[in-house]
Symmetry: C2
Subunit: 144 residues, 2 copies
Amino acid sequence: MTTDQKLEDVLYYLLEKTNKVIRRYSQVRFNEAGINITVDQWLVLKKINDSDRITQIELANALFKDRASITRILDLLLEKKLIRKEPGVDKRVHELVLTPAGQKFMEQAFGVVKKVRKKGIETLQDKEQEQLRMSLQKIIRNLE
Amino acid sequence: MTTDQKLEDVLYYLLEKTNKVIRRYSQVRFNEAGINITVDQWLVLKKINDSDRITQIELANALFKDRASITRILDLLLEKKLIRKEPGVDKRVHELVLTPAGQKFMEQAFGVVKKVRKKGIETLQDKEQEQLRMSLQKIIRNLE
DNA sequence: CCTATATAGTTGATATATCAATTAATTAAA
DNA sequence: TTTAATTAATTGATATATCAACTATATAGG
C-alpha cells in the first residue's frame, strides 16, 4: 500500500477524540452532581426546552439523530416523567413539552452544564473560538 | 431558569455535528464503493495496520474506545477473516495482525479513504488546518 | 369520494458505548 | 511458595445509531 498517514495525523481522528473527551467529561460531571441522565438525553431535553411544541422529526433533524433513536430516548424521558407527548392537530405527530419536573430538572442541571461548557474553552480567546467555529462549518459544508 | 444559550450556539454542539457529518459521509462513500465495513471497524483495522502486534488494550486506548467495544468489533473482523489474534508472551494478551485478506482490503479501501479525507478539508488553507488542530488540542487538554 | 402516495412515529435487527462482574494469567507479598 | 492483588480479555445489561419494515394518518389526483 502507498504509505498512508498515521491515524494520529488525520484531522478527523482529532475531531473524534475531541468529541469523546467532551462527552466523557460531561457525563462524569453529571454523575458527580447526582444528575441521573445521559448526555444524549440531556441534548433532547435541552432542545425541547428551547423549542415551542417541537415534533419528533424536528427533534431528530436538530440533533442529527435518527427518528428511531429519538423514539427510544423519549421512552426513557417519559419513564423519568421529565417530558409529555401531546397530540398535534395532525394526529400523526406528537408535540413534546417538558413536565414541571422536567423544567425543575433543567434548572438543576444548568449550573453543571454552564461549568462544563466553560471549562473546555477556557484557554481559547474569543477570536480563536470564532475561527474554530468557521473552520468546523467549512468542513460541514464540504461534506453535507 | 436563567436564560441559557441556544443549543445551536454551543461550540460542543457544532463539534458533535461535524463529527456526525464526517461519519455519515465516510460510511456512504464506503457503501458506494462496495466496501463492506463500518467506520469503527475501519478505524480498528487502520490502527492494527499502523502498529506492530498491538494488543487490545493498546487498541482501546488509541481509539478512545472501551475494551468491551474492542472485543466486539474484533469479533466481527474475525468473522470477516480480516484479522488474526496471536497469543503474546504474556498469555493474557492477544497480539493483533491483519490477515493477507485484511491487507488486501486496506489497499482497496485506501483510495476511498484518501478522497474522503481530502474532501472535508478542501476549502481549508494549511494554516487554517494547523490552527484547527491546535484549538482542538487545547479543548482536549482542558477536559482530560 | 376513493384510491394511491406520502408522512410521522414505532419496532426489530445489528453495531457500538459504557459499566459491572467474571475468568484466566501474572505479579507482589507474606 | 502459597496467597493476595493486579491485569487482559470476555460477557451481560442497558443506551444509542442505523436501516428496513410496518402502522396510522393525511393529502393529492382521478
